[in-house]
């Protein structure tokens, strides 16, 4: 067991694979992640780098043909990876909730919105769905900024994307979870609604004091919302630090590449893309998975995978370029 680095969530050496006809997809290759209560963590990275798989692993929702083959997920003092399904059911929804990417698709199309929220509230509070639960539903809809009289009897297809996402937020926060996982909550929405939803989340999380994991590929969204950021690449955590540190002083060359690719008003230099393509996770590159695209590749990069080391207080990087600094810090 690894040392406990955060008091809410500790993920150590998490490996998840998916068995497919093409071969074994090594989706997560030893992810390390930790966070404290009430913290906001952003996970950024390209499509297919394992952001969502990390989230699903925390929820215990990795299904056939996927499997967690190694590693621990410690939530508070509970070891989620060794828990049985019926114990996990009591954690899901109650202590960890999730908001999904496509809010309209994440609601059952044949059921009224009010009933769906009532269902989750009833489950969490262990009550039969009745007047009491519906009073709570109204309160939650109100909190999420919706007119409950109008919304409670609507079907999901009658809602706009923004309204549906508000409903999802109402549902997720109804149990006041310790941890809220938002899996690209704004990707399917247009920009003005994005801002509204983020503002709402921000306000509610401040009010209730939940910890949030925000999964996104939008650096701007992450910068606005998160205290800390974790950058993922091809199933690995490559850099983990405070948001300001990531933006002002990125160390890993993948993070630097990402930031160079972000357009900004007033930027005069050309946008740069990272050369090469995301590796095929059935046959990932040996050693550091970023080495075929890295300008500063060394021999050791091709052989071994660099561990995540602390190069400055609170700034972790998985790269051999900073390996020595990291060792020095660990010793001093």
């Amino acid at each position: 067991m690894q040392k406990v680095r955060g008091d809410l969530l500790n993920i150590s050496k998490l490996k998840v694979v998916f068995y497919t006809y093409r071969g074994i997809i090594k989706a997560l290759n030893g992810v390390e992640l930790w966070m404290n209560q009430g913290e906001r963590l952003g996970i950024v990275g390209e499509t297919g780098c394992g952001k969502s798989v990390t989230a699903l692993s925390i929820m215990g929702l990795i299904e056939q043909p996927g499997e967690i083959i190694e590693g621990d997920i410690l939530f508070g003092d509970k070891l989620l990876t060794s828990m049985k399904e019926n114990e996990l059911i009591n954690i899901r929804g109650k202590e960890i909730s999730m908001i999904f990417q496509e809010p309209n698709a994440a609601l059952n199309p044949v059921m009224k919105v009010g009933f769906q929220i009532a269902e989750s509230i009833g489950k969490v509070k262990n009550k039969k769905i009745g007047k009491e639960v519906y009073a709570e539903v109204r309160r939650m809809l109100e909190i999420a900024g919706l007119d409950w009289e109008r919304t409670i009897n609507l079907y999901p297809h009658e809602l706009s994307g923004g309204m549906a996402q508000r409903v999802m937020i109402a549902m997720a926060l109804s149990s006041n979870p310790k941890l809220l996982i938002a899996d690209e909550p704004t990707s399917a929405l247009d920009v003005t609604i994005q801002a509204q939803i983020l503002e709402l989340l921000d306000e509610l999380v401040k009010k209730f004091g939940n910890a949030v994991i925000l999964i996104t590929h939008n650096m701007g969204v992450a910068a606005e919302f998160c205290d800390k950021m974790a950058v993922m690449y091809a199933g690995n955590m490559v850099e983990y630090a405070r948001t300001t540190n990531i933006f002002e002083n990125p160390h890993h060359h993948y993070t630097r590449g990402l930031l160079k690719a972000v357009p900004k008003i007033g930027r005069t230099d050309e946008l740069q893309s990272i050369p090469g393509i995301v590796p095929d996770l059935v046959n990932p590159p040996s050693g550091c998975r970023f080495h075929p695209r890295c300008k500063h590749v060394m021999d050791i990069c091709r052989k071994d995978f660099p561990p995540l080391v602390e190069i400055k207080p609170g700034h972790y990087v998985a790269c051999y370029l900073y390996w020595k600094e990291g060792i020095k810090n660990a010793n001093s």
């Binding site: 059911i89 899901r92 929804g93 999904f100 059921m111 269902e119 009289e149 109008r150």
Partner: protein, 303 residues
């Protein structure tokens, strides 16, 4: 919106209600129009309507008992007294055919309920859980499918003992495979939808997900399939009755009546002919109606 406006009269309430339901009413109107423009569906509907009316109001149509025997009136040809004639025991064929309709409705009803229930439970369980559960359940289904339907039904009634209840059980045990396959396909489709993942993330248990979220989404194609298969159910029941494996005399089951008149077919043709025509008529009605429903519900033909 209804509860925001409170102090309005009854008339306005109805008006408001109709206004809110306008799309649904329009949709029904369109369905009615489509039904009217498909003559075959209309004929099917009329036939099934007659069949059901006859079954429900059987005593109003008949003057004779379907089972009482009058030996002095045996083997009479169709006349104004006995419009379908009488059989070898002097029973009125018309009464027997009319009361037979009740038995057929009963068979359809029970067989539909049992077979859809078995089929849906097996199919959705297999589709939802997948992997080993799926393999086992679907191989069992395949075993049932491997036999010709009528043969399997015959074997089952022969084993259970020939009577009406066992016939219904046997037909149900043959018929459920179709619904199992359909239910499985639908459950697999629904299972991978994001809202199932979302509800799992809230912490719903498998039973709840199946009952409240997968089942309602997978039931509609099964219902459509059921209406299409009702004709087949009657045909199987009549076949078993004809072979003496179904309803036992003196129960006026159509297949059994046809079988009764078999040995008199050359001279007293009316005993077998009229119940046979009833079978043909009703099966035709169900098939036409089934085709019509499929056409009307087909979204590509709808607009």
């Amino acid at each position: 919106m209804l509860n925001t406006v409170k102090n309005i009269g009854q008339k306005e309430k109805i008006k408001l209600f109709l206004e809110q339901r306008k799309p649904i009413i329009e949709d029904w109107k369109h369905t009615y129009y489509l039904w009217k423009s498909t003559p075959l569906a209309m004929i099917g509907t009329v036939i099934i309507f007659i069949f059901l009316t006859v079954a429900i109001f059987a005593p109003l149509f008949t003057t004779y008992s379907p089972t009482e025997q009058f030996m002095e009136e045996r083997l009479l040809p169709p006349s104004s007294q006995h419009i379908f004639g009488t059989d070898q025991y002097g029973r009125d064929i018309f009464s027997r055919v009319v009361y037979g309709a009740r038995i057929e409705v009963w068979i359809i009803f029970i067989v539909s309920i049992i077979s859809v229930m078995i089929g849906i439970i097996v199919g959705i369980t297999a589709g939802y859980f997948g992997s080993a559960v799926d393999e086992i359940l679907m191989r069992i289904t395949d075993m049932f499918l491997a036999f010709p339907r009528l043969i399997l039904a015959m074997v089952l009634t022969a084993v259970l003992g020939p009577n009406l209840t066992n016939t219904m059980i046997a037909i149900s045990l043959v018929d459920w495979t179709v619904y199992a396959r359909l239910g499985r396909a639908e459950a697999m489709k629904v299972k991978s939808q994001p809202y199932i993942e979302a509800i799992r993330a809230v912490g719903a248990k498998d039973l709840r997900i199946i009952a409240f979220h997968v089942l309602p989404m997978s039931i509609s194609p099964v219902i459509v399939q059921l209406t299409l298969r009702m004709g087949t159910i009657i045909l199987t029941a009549a076949g078993l009755g004809f072979l003496g494996l179904g309803a036992q005399p003196p129960t006026p089951e159509w297949g059994a009546i046809v079988s009764d008149g078999r040995s008199y077919l050359v001279d007293q043709w009316w005993i077998s002919t009229f119940p046979g025509m009833a079978i043909a008529f009703v099966v035709l009605g169900f098939n036409l109606l089934g085709d019509g429903i499929r056409d009307i519900l087909d979204p590509r033909l709808r607009r």
